[in-house]
């Protein structure tokens, strides 16, 4: 007979202990987030918790968050993508040109000016450009065996250069309301507007809805599909994955396409939100994206982590920036604090996980 099952008492107590530790381990970033929110709520005398402000935070983190979802797939396989900020700009620019049918910076807001492909066309172009950029990088990584760090570092400057060429260096601004809706629109929640007696309508911003829908889809894909299991396996031990009959190259390729897709979508949403596709959009945003994933508990070595953590990681960065601004902390000091919090959050996560193991 099996030793473990002959002694149910032993099994119960050990699995219970495991569960509590596991829960805490799983939600270490969440604990951290809640603590931060409480601190800011107290420090701002409740202003931080105003629904208008909270939705504002959510809107601000949506683009970073979306790309971080894709980056979670990449990092789970043990890879990295440094090019997402540039790919975002390229896709945003491509979408603007497709929408307007020109790369001239006409500031007109009139729908009649749009001789391009329309909003649907812009969305498709942005996502395709992003996914195709990811595909090219993924092919170089998997077929030529060049490290992802190098390939996407190259991509970082290549996509940026391409964006500048496409736009002649300047922004392309001025879109119709239906285009802007993707970044600025919201689904109104009249009761909240009433309760808070807000002068502007309160509602769930469209980027937030996109972010959450994709977060749920990604979570399901990673958790409940064969594909998701394979992503973890490739990141956990590529050689074992190969010898278990997984197509490691194609799985690896797919995650770069996914992150590219999200960078493209992010490019479109930022373009819509700011009513302008900027050639300098997203500079440095790869670091925010990677920070969100890592704060969320995903291991840079691959094989461990999840999308839930990434969502929390993205929120944590957003809350931090917003709270510090509300507290009038100087922007110089802000950067130092954010850096410290990133390190602290990951240290806390490590600490909880090591306790869980022992």
């Amino acid at each position: 007979m099996d030793q473990a099952t002959t002694d149910p008492k032993l099994m119960d107590s050990s699995s219970q202990r495991l569960d509590i530790a596991k829960l805490l381990g799983q939600f270490a970033p969440l604990v951290f987030l809640v603590v931060l929110i409480i601190i800011f709520a107290v420090a701002t005398e409740g202003r931080f918790l105003n629904p208008l402000n909270l939705f504002n935070v959510l809107r601000q983190v949506s683009v970073t968050g979306m790309i971080a979802i894709g980056m979670t797939f990449v990092i789970l396989t043990g890879g990295i993508d440094l090019s997402v900020g540039s790919l975002l700009a390229l896709a945003g620019m491509a979408a603007a040109i497709a929408f307007k049918g020109t790369n001239q910076n006409t500031l007109s807001l009139e729908a009649s000016d749009a001789v391009g492909l329309g909003v649907a066309g812009a969305v498709i172009i942005a996502c395709l450009v992003g996914a195709f950029g990811g595909f090219l990088q993924g092919m170089v990584i998997t077929r030529m065996g060049i490290p992802a760090f190098i390939v996407t570092l190259g991509g970082l400057t290549i996509w940026r250069g391409l964006t500048l060429i496409l736009s002649n260096g300047g922004p392309i601004s001025g879109f119709t309301a239906d285009y802007r809706y993707l970044g600025q629109g919201l689904i109104p929640l009249p009761f909240l507007t009433e309760i808070t007696q807000s002068r502007v309508p309160i509602g769930i911003p469209i980027p937030v809805i996109l972010f959450l829908i994709f977060a749920v889809l990604a979570h399901v894909a990673l958790r409940y599909t064969k594909y998701g299991r394979h992503v973890y396996a490739v990141g956990g031990n590529p050689e074992a994955a190969r010898l278990s009959g997984l197509n490691v190259k194609n799985i690896t390729l797919s995650v770069y396409i996914i992150v590219g897709f999200f960078a493209g979508l992010g490019g479109l949403v930022s373009s819509a939100r700011f009513n302008s596709s900027e050639a300098v959009a997203g500079i440095g945003s790869e670091l925010d994206v990677i920070a969100a994933v890592v704060i969320g508990g995903t291991s840079l070595f691959g094989g461990e982590g999840n999308v839930l953590g990434t969502v929390i990681g993205a929120l944590l960065i957003g809350v931090l920036v917003n709270g510090l601004v509300m507290l009038n902390v100087s922007s110089y000091l802000q950067q130092i604090i954010i850096g410290l919090i990133i390190i602290l959050a990951v240290a806390f996560d490590r600490f909880v996980k090591s306790r869980r193991r022992s």
Binding site: A4, A233, G236, N237, L243, S244, G303
Partner: protein
């Protein structure tokens, strides 16, 4: 009799659950080449690690020139003049020969290296060894044999008195072996003593003055080489009967249809990877329900055959038939589609996802069996599959959600076997299936392999342990240096016979 240079007396060392060496004695005379022999697991490595300061004995004494010494760490052993050259060299491939020879003892003034001195001194040590290469060549650009000479040069530059060589010839060609033995003789003439560990008994006869044979962690014999023959040594090494650990044998399945046939598997010397093992026209077949043992020394090409059949390494030529059908296997995926499974030799590196749960490790290759109509993993079917194999294989764990890294080696191995059983293969190749697992788990794995064979699965078993090969296999093929050197039925197989076939090198076989 001259006073021994080195005298190890009644050395005993326990590891958790294992008595690795038990009151072992070893005497090495000044200026001799001393063979240290024994099967895998006989205690050679433990003894050498004690001598190099890497392990500490539980009891026993070590004397050097009649003076008792303690070896707390490798550095201390080196200062006593005892230097070990491991099978896996301790060289830094990116550095030059000179830097490697003088690593940690670089000549120079302050922080500045004196390259000229270092190069000259290195040349003075390597030239007598027959290396006429610029000392500023990077080690990664050298052949295995040359790298070995660099190791020897380093040992010499440390003024060592005893050089321990752990299977130095396993990666060398015949020609290089001759050269190495010459150098060993030269060193001996200069008064150095060498402890030589090898599985190749012809080399022992050619080079050693005396031998000490270990078996199951104890002394099994000591002799002057001039007084003995190869069969004498084999008898000392083997010296025991295969016990009835391997009960549960079934009838020889000679009438069953052939499950897998391979023909002329060949892998040439690869310029990209000059140290890779080559295969020369390997052909054999295995029947349904048969356990075919593949015996050979480490590095003979056993694992390479398995990986080639499984599509894990590219082959140059050769054909694989499943039943009577010629199949084209380029990747492990192709092999799995054809019903071939592989339990690789290194569990942790090649089979397990240590960060994932036991459940995920078990079902990873067979997820298609637990998908629902929408293509999602059905948690209930997956748990059922896990339960089924947990029971069949008696995997001891608190639940399927435990990370696989928390299981014992034996249970981990069962998880890997379960992964393949879940795919219901026609042919299962197991490479060192019981390496590093305890005796009880070993017996369980053996009985599982028998069960699978009884179900009609063709099992190919690679093992370095001859008793395991003899106890488990219906038929045994032997490999030496990438060549098939023999085929023996269980009834005719003895350790002596296998050992002889496993060491039958091409030059010796002619």
């Amino acid at each position: 009799m001259t006073q021994p240079l080195l005298k190890m007396t009644a050395i005993t060392k326990h590891f958790p659950g294992v008595l690795a060496v038990d009151h072992v004695n070893l005497e090495v005379l000044p200026g001799e080449i001393h063979g240290l022999l024994g099967e895998n697991g006989a205690g050679k490595s433990t003894l050498l690690k004690i001598l190099s300061g890497a392990h500490h004995p539980d009891s026993g004494s070590i004397e050097l020139n009649g003076q008792p010494i303690t070896l707390e760490n490798p550095h201390q052993a080196q200062r006593q003049g005892i230097v070990t050259i491991y099978q896996e060299f301790n060289l830094v491939p990116q550095l030059t020969i000179a830097e490697n020879v003088f690593i940690g003892r670089e000549p120079g003034r302050g922080v500045l290296l004196n390259w000229r001195t270092m190069a000259d001194q290195t040349r003075a040590v390597i030239e007598p060894l027959g290396i006429h290469i610029d000392p500023l060549t990077r080690v990664r650009d050298l052949s295995v044999a040359e790298q070995q000479m660099v190791e020897i040069a380093r040992a010499l530059s440390m003024q060592s008195r005893i050089i321990i060589m752990d299977e130095p010839t396993s990666a060398l060609s015949e020609h290089e072996v001759v050269r190495l033995i010459e150098i060993m003789q030269n060193l001996k003439a200069k008064g150095l003593s060498i402890i030589f560990v090898t599985h190749r008994l012809d080399e022992v006869m050619r080079s050693c003055d005396r031998v000490t044979v270990l078996r199951d962690g104890r002394n099994a014999g000591e002799a002057d080489v001039k007084n003995i023959t190869v069969p004498d040594i084999i008898r000392m090494m083997v010296g025991r009967t295969v016990d009835d650990l391997y009960a549960g044998k079934h009838a020889l399945p000679t009438a069953n249809p052939v499950a897998l046939r391979v023909s002329k598997l060949r892998r040439k010397v690869n310029i990209q990877d000059p140290h890779a093992i080559v295969l020369h026209d390997i052909s054999f077949e295995v029947r349904q329900g048969e356990i075919l043992g593949i015996a050979g020394l480490v590095g003979a090409g056993r694992t390479e055959i398995a990986r080639a059949i499984f599509g894990a390494d590219p082959l140059e030529s050769g054909e694989v038939y499943i039943g009577s059908e010629l199949v084209n296997i380029k990747t492990p995926q192709d092999a799995i589609r054809q019903g071939i499974g592989l339990v690789p030799e290194d569990r942790k590196q090649q089979a397990l996802f240590l960060a994932l749960a036991v459940r995920e490790n078990t079902t990873i290759a067979a997820l298609n069996r637990v998908l629902n109509r929408l293509g999602f993993v059905n948690a209930r079917s997956e748990a059922d599959l896990m339960d089924q194999y947990q029971r069949t294989l008696n995997i001891r764990m608190t639940s399927g959600e435990v990370r696989v890294r928390n299981l014992s080696g034996g249970n981990q191995q069962k998880v890997v076997i379960a992964r393949w059983m879940a795919l219901q293969p026609k042919v299962l190749i197991v490479d060192e299936p019981t390496r590093g697992i305890d005796v009880a788990a070993k017996a369980e794995v053996h009985s599982l392999l028998h069960q699978m064979a009884a179900q009609g699965i063709a099992v190919i078993m690679i093992s370095s342990e001859l008793p395991e090969i003899l106890g488990m296999s219906d038929r045994i093929i032997t490999i030496c240096e990438g060549r098939l050197t023999g085929e023996v039925l269980r009834a005719d197989a003895t350790q002596e016979k296998l050992m002889e076939l496993m060491t039958r090198r091409e030059s010796a076989a002619v």
